[in-house]
Subunit: 414 residues, 3 copies
């Protein structure tokens, strides 16, 4: 049976991703970064199979430390994660007892070939650098064979050297990691898609905003210039996300929009957060780290590439301060945030990420957040390729970036 393809009519304008070639090629993620892959509590002496950036990895804990091996025995292709520990510091394949050194992946013994097996030392499996941060196991996916950089140089700066408690969710989700990252940083959808979420049940949301994007170091920030709480659409009529039961009302006209927190800036700001002087409450960095700053805590999302069609969602809420503030935070997290924000609200995002199907695509003004994110990936990748290493701290530079205002040229042609 033959199929005659029917020609699809395309909207005018370029709709592919050729403007961002590195990004376009990164369907299974960018190598050269640390990625969180499991909660630390999930990795014990029994190996765990994970997939990150298309690589199959066996994680196992030995002597308190987590090791990561390429999850394929070179003998016959059996996953090493099905094996177990026969000697300290090693992992043995379940099939013939090929035994690999966890430190360097070298074949240390083959049980079924005796102590003088001539193949020992001639075979090795790839190993991956691992670390534990934020209660999670992280794996470094190398570009080639380079040593892993310090993980702290790739974490959000405010999470290094500070004291905090956190709560979070980690789960496999359908859809390419880039749709997840774009959804996370997307300016446009939040106010519309999430208006029906329980997290926003009593809080009004604007109809549309005016924003621009600024880059500082590894991050781009979305800076809010104006919020519009009602709008009258020509030929259609007025529209507002406000409902009578939303007691948390829009601010009065003339109030300046805050860039810390998205609740209006009336709360007292946590000193650690205040010290960061974030230009905007929503920021994103490679390789897919979203940071939403609230007055009293910060919400992070990590979009970890698995394969072309799947990613791992990691949502974390961080509360700075020691044990003194921990009890209150945990009560709030377990009592509300976990279910309303990391649950219901986030499941709306998961739904859209799953059904997004681009390119082709047709971008509009608020998508400046998407195009600047893609541009950031291009720029950072080019900087790294040319040997320039990003500064490991915050330099304080603020570089003007793509900007979306009614009164100026924006980068998204519509």
């Amino acid at each position: 049976m033959n199929v005659t393809p029917r020609q699809t009519r395309r909207a005018p304008g370029r709709q592919d991703w050729s403007t961002w070639p590195a990004y376009d090629s990164a369907a299974v993620g960018f190598p050269g970064w640390w990625y969180p892959v499991r909660w630390s509590s999930e990795v014990g002496r029994k190996p765990v199979a994970v997939e990150v950036c298309g690589e199959k990895v066996a994680l196992v804990r030995d002597g308190g430390k987590v090791y990561a091996l390429h999850d394929r025995c070179p003998h016959r292709g059996v996953p090493l994660s099905l094996g177990n520990r026969q000697f300290p510091g090693t992992l043995s394949c379940p099939y013939h007892g090929w035994t690999f050194d966890l430190l360097n992946g070298r074949l240390a013994a083959v049980i079924t070939d005796g102590p003088e097996s001539p193949i020992c030392g001639k075979v090795a499996v790839r190993t991956y650098a691992t670390a534990e941060r934020l209660g999670m196991v992280w794996v470094y996916v190398p570009r080639a064979d380079e040593p892993a950089p310090l993980i702290d140089s790739q974490l959000p700066e405010e999470l290094v050297g500070t004291t905090f408690v956190l709560g979070g969710r980690m789960e496999p989700r359908a859809g390419n990691w880039r749709f997840a990252a774009e959804n996370g940083y997307d300016e446009g959808h939040a106010k519309y898609l999430h208006r029906t979420s329980l997290w926003r049940l009593f809080k009004s949301m604007p109809v549309w905003n005016e924003t621009h994007i600024e880059r500082r170091d590894r991050w781009i920030y979305r800076v809010q210039d104006a919020q519009h709480w009602v709008a009258d659409f020509p030929g259609l009529g007025p529209w507002s996300g406000h409902r009578w039961w939303k007691v948390n009302r829009p601010p009065k006209a003339g109030t300046t929009a805050s860039n810390i927190g998205n609740t209006g800036g009336r709360s007292r700001v946590d000193p650690v957060i205040a010290a960061q002087e974030f230009p905007g409450f929503a920021s994103i960095a490679m390789p897919g780290v979203l940071r939403i700053v609230y007055p009293r805590f910060i919400h992070y999302e990590f979009y970890v590439p698995v394969d072309t069609d799947n990613h791992r969602y990691v949502g974390v809420m961080v509360n700075f301060g020691g044990l003194g503030t921990a009890v209150g935070f945990w009560l709030k997290y377990l009592g509300a945030v976990r279910w309303l924000f990391h649950g219901d609200f986030s499941s709306q995002d998961a739904w859209m990420v799953d059904v997004t199907d681009a390119p082709p695509e047709r971008l509009y003004r608020p998508d400046v957040s998407l195009t600047e994110w893609r541009r950031l990936c291009e720029d950072v990748t080019a900087e790294r390729t040319s040997g320039l290493v990003e500064a490991p701290g915050r330099s304080g530079r603020v570089r003007p970036f793509g900007r979306f205002r009614r009164t100026q040229v924006h980068r998204v042609t519509s």
Copy 2:
């Protein structure tokens, strides 16, 4: 691992569909026709996703009328059928509130980009003409951008301008639509496959028939020339579908086979049906409409292409006459026809359509009904392509077509 294909021995003779190139290419159906896709009662204010001829379509009812849009938001590829109505006469994408005019598909507003969004009016989604007939929603799948013809010109003629009641079933079924259409019009299988159906429990069926095919206007008719109720197969023995409990016995020898109804022609014929002067009780027309004429009602089947491997089966039993006859018809339909004919009997067809796997194929004499159906598709498609529009009514011409008689050359070489 390599696979060495083993050579399959082929029966002699051409077994592909190259004789019917348009038909061969129509794996997802013929554009340029109206197709029934849902019961009217299934399409309300909440959008419904359907697929017809490989096209994904969002159906939605607004102000009593059904509209059809291409089911993909051009922004990021999200199905519009997941959205809902934010303004009268429009459908909004759930993700960012892109709002499309139901009438013409134009982007009327983008809620999250404010009233002056510059992209409005620059983007549109394809719309499809819709109609409601026989209690169903119909969609016109265009060849290019041509306006839809009047649906009445494509309906069975006797269903236009007459009064009737109907009952039916509509369901997704596995298998290409062409296997379903060919099964429906297939002369050969009915007497053998369906001899065990409950619908035929008490009625004998012939072993084999002699028939020929006649074309009149858009339809080809199968005309019965002789029925054989028993047969003695050389070397094997006698065979008959008759069983002692089948009280509805074969007619006496010498009785002329009727071409209205397949029950022997003893019943009084409904005046609307009689007026049609159908040359044969089984007829088929593009784009896959089967008509089986009984003395008191007509059974129609529509084989609606979905994708290469699936179709939608629509079986409808029509009773001409007003409310006076409706009660009796409904009792008969709900009490028997729905379960025995549209259920059990039809499920035998669904079973065979699912497992049919052709080409290659090896046709035999009764397959003149298949080859003439394919030829009809070629001819009608050629007539339309050359600008000739089929007459919207019945012209009365009877053109001789392929004919299957023992005594003459038939078109199927065996």
Copy 3:
């Protein structure tokens, strides 16, 4: 979305199967052999669909004998196994009653085309030779159109002309048939993978063995030269499969390893088995027949190719002798062997066969059993292609074959 493939680092040395081209091409098995496909009790008058060596076959029993037809009606591709018997010695397609002669596959009648159907005798489906042995139905998959050789010439020699009883399991399993055959004959895994099986719960297993391979007629035998019950791995420490509850202890040092049975050779050997003078207790022959010889019975495994990703496992335990010994054997089989050996033990093999993924592969010393098995397939295939037919009996020749000893060159470079 583009995917940039990441380069995988390969271990040095050839890792593909180009050394064994016939074997490499035999993903769906070798034609020219008899294969067991169902228990005889499973094939009755209702047809059964089976797949062997990628061929779809309809089995049906008529007049006590089993027939096999290619499972596709040439008319419209419907499986003949969905049909049934309308005349003795035939099978009719359920769709239109095309009726095929079970003996030769010829179209004997077409019920829906009457006694004089001109297509009769012009069409045939392929037939397959069948036989019943060991309580199973066997099908011969031909290379071209050659007649089937006598099945006895392809059965294990000791099963022809002797009296025995048997018990067994037959089940579909995931994984290519070659992984199953290699797993069955694999010297290395048994002692390690199966050390935790219930079958070996009370029996110690060696850590590693020294073996060599000998060929005699159609079979290659694994001959045990030395067994090592403990081993001290440099840098890692000692390892032994022995546990305190394993009451069946390793033999004393200096005891010669037996090549009949793998339990130490202390049992009285069955006279039929003793008469075979097997050079080793594990042997394999084309097209995938494993023979494990115990003192009192023989265990056979047949790895029947289905498609590239699936095979049929047939495990049979044979007890020589008449009814006198049958009761004791059956008690032992049903009480233990069936659950522990053909169940639990064998399921460990099924697990590994399912996850094996080669090539690429990296062989080690004990894999001489794999490479000699592949070489056997090459040699036997070449002998048959050149017109040399293997002797139908046992000639007594013992040809030295690949040999694995610490003190000599072995064929697996590591």
